[in-house]
Amino acid sequence: MTLLEVKALSKEFDGLRALDGVSFAARGGEILGIIGPNGAGKTTLFNIISGIYPPSGGEINFEGKSILRLKPHQVSRLGIGRTFQIVRPFQNLDVEANVMVAFGHRVYPSLWKSAGSVWQPEIQKEVQDLIDRVGLRPHLKQIAKTLPLGFKKRLEIARALALQPRLLLLDEPSAGLRFEESLQLMGLIRQVCDQGIGILLIEHNMHVVMDLCKRIVVLDHGSKIAEGSPEEIRSNPLVIQAYLGKEA
């Protein structure tokens, strides 16, 4: 089943073409890798899907409906969660409150409900279960800025999962992590995927990508240059050229 459909998506920043006619589709329960050299337009793609910038052209459909004109909060309420390339937890809030913010997506549309108390036992239980799942239970009351990077990344994933998303956008989850940390994170990502959530994964670490993804989209200078299985991508001459340059 197609979850997200991106058609001929373009984005121009003051004459710079950051994305140029990119099309692909993502399915539920599948990890779709998005790779490409720096400046290929990967994060721009995420920012457009999540409603931070409007695209210059093209279409994005989520579960068959266009999300092109939606604001970030509307996109996230529809069921698209995301993490950030440079982690952005709510630094001065504790782990529990960080996740709680995202649980509020159910009440925020009504101002009246939003005035109700946050700290209700059943919601607290849900939040704690989720924090358990990403392995942060011992750090429930710790202030986010004091967490090590690996934990901050898990916190971001927990926060995105609190939206009860059907699609998760992960922007370089393994960047800056030690080997063991990134292995643990891969385990978590796989587990999320097994629940039927679709995942778009931007990743520079080729081991991670080749291991996790059955399908990969390659961007270079804003255009899609290849799409296929890890084996196809590895042997694709255009991809090799984009990463290593043309042979002399």
Binding site: S76, F84, P89, F90, N92, V101, G104, Y108, G116, S117
Partner: protein
């Protein structure tokens, strides 16, 4: 019987506490810096004064209406503030303060430099309210506002504000409607400042544009920062301490702004969270 001097100071401090509290909603809770809060204090004071003297509304209607007017104008002026952040927001709100003060000063309808006089303390039980009675009316109102503030602190609204204060973009990605919650903070903060303005006008019986200038905004901000930005009691403590200080010793009055400035510098250097901030000496002592 309390002396007239003492009750005057008490009422003034109480009004400042309400103002500091209202600014704390916008700047402390929702994280939106405002250097023009006195504008809404003024809008409340002028609204209630005009409604009372020109339209003949009684105090009991003119003051609540002043809060409504300030809240509506706060929402309208909040909209240009939504597009800017941090230092640009500071300059924008400052500009709003100058414009509002200029409107009071140069439009004859608002009495110009002469201001508006003939506003009186309210009547009840067929006689004029005494000053101590007026003090308690404001105190009860403020108490109710603090109860509302406590509920806001526990609510999803409070949590959404905290997330916006921490990181707007991440808040949006977590389903928080940033625009709506920011406007809500501007409306509530402006309305409470307007209410304080209404109380102020009926207490002073005479208001003029200079009461609501940029300097006044800075005094309010000093109180919030001094006491502890984002805390419930900090801004109130700030208002009490900075309000009493010039009264303890008359000579200080002349150097009021200088002393506020020095105190603020010292606070920023040694206790940036304010007296009741999370890491301040006071909070650490009491937690133990």
């Amino acid at each position: 019987m309390i002396s007239g001097y003492l009750i005057t100071i008490l009422i003034t401090i109480l009004i400042y506490a309400m103002l500091a509290h209202s600014l704390n909603l916008i700047t402390g809770h929702a994280g939106q810096i405002s250097l023009g809060h006195a504008a809404f204090f003024g809008i409340g004071a002028y609204s209630s004064a005009m409604l009372y003297t020109e339209a003949g509304f009684p105090f009991w209607i003119s003051v609540p209406l002043a809060a409504v007017v300030a809240g509506i104008i706060g929402a309208l002026l909040g909209i240009p503030c939504l597009r800017v952040r941090d230092d640009f927001l500071a300059i924008t709100t400052m500009g709003i303060n100058f414009v509002v003060e200029a409107i009071f000063l140069y439009i004859p309808f608002f009495g110009g430099a002469m201001g508006i006089g003939g506003i009186n303390l309210p009547k009840w039980f067929g006689r004029d309210m005494t000053k101590p009675e007026y003090f308690f009316i404001i105190l009860i109102t403020f108490g109710l506002l603090l109860l509302v503030d406590r509920q806001l602190g526990r609510s999803w609204i409070g949590l959404a504000w905290a997330s916006i204060r921490e990181d707007e973009q991440a808040a949006g990605a977590m389903g928080v409607d940033v625009v709506r919650f920011k406007v809500l903070a501007f409306i509530l903060g402006s309305a409470i400042a307007g209410l304080a303005g209404g109380f102020y006008a009926h207490f002073l019986t005479f208001i003029m544009p200079q009461n609501f200038g940029f300097g006044q905004s800075i005094v309010i901000l000093c109180m919030v920062v001094f006491g502890g930005i984002g805390t419930r009691w900090g801004p109130i403590i700030g208002a009490v301490i900075l309000g009493i200080l010039p009264e303890i010793s008359r000579p200080i009055m002349e150097y009021r702004i200088l002393i506020y400035g020095v105190l603020l510098l010292a606070m920023m250097r040694f206790q940036p969270g304010g007296l009741l901030g999370a890491e301040s000496i006071l909070s650490r002592t009491f937690r133990r």
